[in-house]
């Protein structure tokens, strides 16, 4: 490995170790007896931190022009946010599920 090659790798190794640690934490949480919303919140929180690390450093978005970073981030956040209307109906399926026993 030349010195030029080594240059800048340190940052990536640090991110790599962070990612490993976070993933390990997720595995530990998976073994805990956590249910429902709590589980989702914890898993997604860690996954979002990982996303930030990967997108900013591994995909090098962090070193692009700020206007491009904004374009990608705002655009994606907005579109993904608008997809979340779907949940209200997911709960509706739980509340009004047609059971074999007809309602009285």
């Amino acid at each position: 490995m030349t010195t030029a090659e080594r240059h800048g790798i340190g940052k990536y190794v640090a991110v790599y170790i962070c990612l490993l640690v976070i993933t390990a934490l997720q595995f530990v949480i998976g073994y805990q007896n956590i249910q429902g919303t709590q589980l989702v919140v914890r898993m997604l929180t860690f996954a979002i931190i990982e996303t930030l690390l990967v997108v900013l450093f591994f995909m090098n978005l962090g070193s692009e022009k700020p206007v491009f970073v904004k374009f990608v981030v705002y655009f994606m956040l907005f579109v993904l946010a608008t997809m979340n209307y779907i949940w209200t109906d997911s709960f509706r399926l739980l509340l009004f599920r047609l059971t074999k026993v007809g309602p009285s």
């Binding site: 998976g30 997604l44 990982e50 591994f58 995909m59 022009k65 779907i86 399926l93």
Partner: protein, 209 residues
Amino acid sequence: MSEAHVTMGAHTAAPMEAPPFAIPSKKLAMWLFVMADVMTFAACVAAYAFTRNATPDWPRPFHSVTAVAVMTVIMLTSGLTMLIALGAAKAGDKAGAFRWMMITAVAGIIFTLLHIRDWMGMIDQGVGLLHNPWGTAAFGASFYAITGFSLLHISIGTIALIIVAIRYQGGRYNADDIEIVSIFWQFVGLVWLFIVPVVYLMNQTPAAR
């Protein structure tokens, strides 16, 4: 065309406006593709999560996720080797870049094989699109749909890596192309980092108290 020519006459033309994002078109296109792909995966995950949330007796059957842990480490490591290859290519170390890309590709192949082995294990346990030993059929369908879509991306990414590496070796591609394939590779790795908690760990049998 010189700047002087542009300003000929009394009227000053706006100078050449730099592209606002200042990134080459190919790389921009890869980013746009990644954005579109995010939506594709988002739709798949939304379908899975919608169904799961609406199913009261969703099973949590996974006992051992050692294989998944190994696959995750491989995937993360391949991301790092990809970056080393990119660094080497940018520094002009052609042999090093090629070597590290090949290492990444090998990691991709191992990952794909492990993934297929994981699938075979699931199929052996009787998990199909329509049946599984643990309850609701939607479990198997969403499992195979999401992981299958990810596996497709990873295998395409692996093939792309090999093609780019060989063409880079042959001088047809340069460091910029490696950067583009690197963005895609990191993206499929990121998708895997979402699949692990969402598909595997959240369906993990909690340890008994």
